[in-house]
Amino acid sequence: MSEWEPKLLGFLCKWCSYAGADLAGTSRKKYPANIRVIRVPCSGRVDPLFILKALHLGFDGVLVSGCHPGDCHYQTGNYYARRRMAVTRKFLEYMGINPQRLQVSWVSASEGGKFTEVVTEVTKELRELGPNRLFSHDRQGHGTKATQ
């Protein structure tokens, strides 16, 4: 019997969060291997389309992580992300998607520790939420032929 492991998709901004994740690695900090990382130039690059697509594909959660407000490499990218993510989260909740499946964090390049904490906590929460069966064929956990 295979144990379900939450699959978390992380969009990490190149200048801060991705570097922070790198630091966690070089510092030999342990964090769950459930996260798959996509590096983006800035958290402001993350289109809500990516988040919905991730859920559509079957990811159990999405983490968008960027620079702290005021520290964005592109000055204002993370401010746009903040607005966009706020709206996306509330809208997902209205559609019936648990907003906890979309997590947003500010992790700087020096915060290897914080990155570790964020991934560990988010993974734990997703494990509690259970697998994402939202887009399964009959909305009750039975997959489409291709994606089950």
Partner: protein, 323 residues
């Protein structure tokens, strides 16, 4: 001022604009080919302006054409339409000097679907529909029946926040009050009922609604806020979603579309009206409008000098959900 008066003023103003070369074209309404229907009139011929109409059936949001017509254009806009124009101005999709807004103070547009339900007859079986102040008289087989106007107006007219355009060049009539008191927002009630459900029930509801969707894209194409030359659904290598009307893809399309137009969608209701399979799209647009209003105190299409919602930020924007 009656619809007839506004219509006369519109025809002479539109003709003058063309004659004087102030605009290259006029976008307005003319009588449609079906009873109680109007249709967009897009013309550069000054003689065509004699066909322009103003009546309780001018439902289309004509601002959808602004992103494709060339040159300067005079456009007929009800209060709600003018908000979409303001939205487009904010996005610099159209320049203020290229539009002459012919504002129509609107007392609400009649929803033929509601009339049909009330009299139990289809549109083409009805003899006449006439608005008389705050009543509507519907004649079927020679017999007249009266209804309060609130029962036959479109839902979004019932919650109208701006019956008279704030942004206009020529106002065709006296500023008017909303047709309804506005505190009985039917659309908000539908949203609230959905919110009372559990998330699983809501998801099941939306999945069920989108089972019917045939991906005709009428909702997207009729929307003034959807002006992307290349929509995300047209990316095919690799595709974000298949051009296959499975409910998963349909729902994905509509959810992303709503988020993409957040802050630009004025909840004008065209998407729901255009949908041939009666998907309650305004229960999505209404909620998105409410989210933007509640979290950011921003209402789409009210202030032409404001920055577009998603292309702006405030230091005070909420971030309480951020780790």
């Amino acid at each position: 001022m009656t619809d007839r008066d506004m219509e006369q003023k519109l025809r002479s103003e539109a003709k003058a604009l063309l004659e004087q070369g102030k605009v290259d074209g006029i976008i307005g309404f003319e009588d449609g080919s079906l009873k109680f229907t109007t249709t967009p009139l897009i013309t550069s011929d000054k003689d065509d302006t004699s066909r322009l109409v103003i009546n309780p059936f001018i439902v289309n949001n004509l601002s959808v054409y602004l992103t494709e017509v060339k040159g300067r254009v005079g456009i007929v806009a009800k209060g709600c339409d003018s908000r979409s124009i303001v939205s487009l101005l904010q996005d610099t999709k159209v320049a203020r000097e290229d539009v002459v807004i012919l504002g129509v103070p609107c007392r609400g547009i009649i929803d033929l679907g509601k009339v049909e339900k009330l009299v139990g007859k289809d549109r083409d079986e009805i003899d006449d529909i006439t608005r008389d102040g705050d009543r509507v008289v519907v004649t079927v087989s020679g017999k007249e029946r009266e209804f309060p106007i609130q029962e036959v107006l479109f839902d979004n007219c019932l919650g109208c926040e701006l019956p008279t355009p704030q942004e206009y060049d020529i106002l065709l009539g006296e500023p008017t009050l909303p047709a309804s008191s506005g505190d009985k927002l039917v659309s908000q009630e539908k949203v609230n009922r959905l919110k009372e459900m559990t998330p699983e029930q809501r998801w099941e509801f939306w999945g069920g609604e989108f089972d019917r969707c045939i991906r005709c894209y009428a909702c997207r194409n009729v929307c003034p806020a959807c002006f992307c030359e290349r929509c995300f659904v047209e990316e095919t290598e690799p595709p974000w979603l298949l051009a296959v009307p499975r409910w998963q893809d349909n729902l994905l399309f509509q959810a992303v579309r709503n988020i993409h137009v957040a802050g630009r969608c004025t909840d004008c209701g065209e998407c729901e009206r255009a949908c041939p399979v009666n998907i309650p799209l305004r229960s999505l647009t209404r909620e998105m409008y409410g989210i933007v209003d509640e979290l950011f105190h921003y209402q789409a299409g009210m202030d032409k000098d404001a920055s577009p919602f998603l292309a702006a930020y405030e230091a005070t924007d909420t971030g309480d959900f951020i780790r």
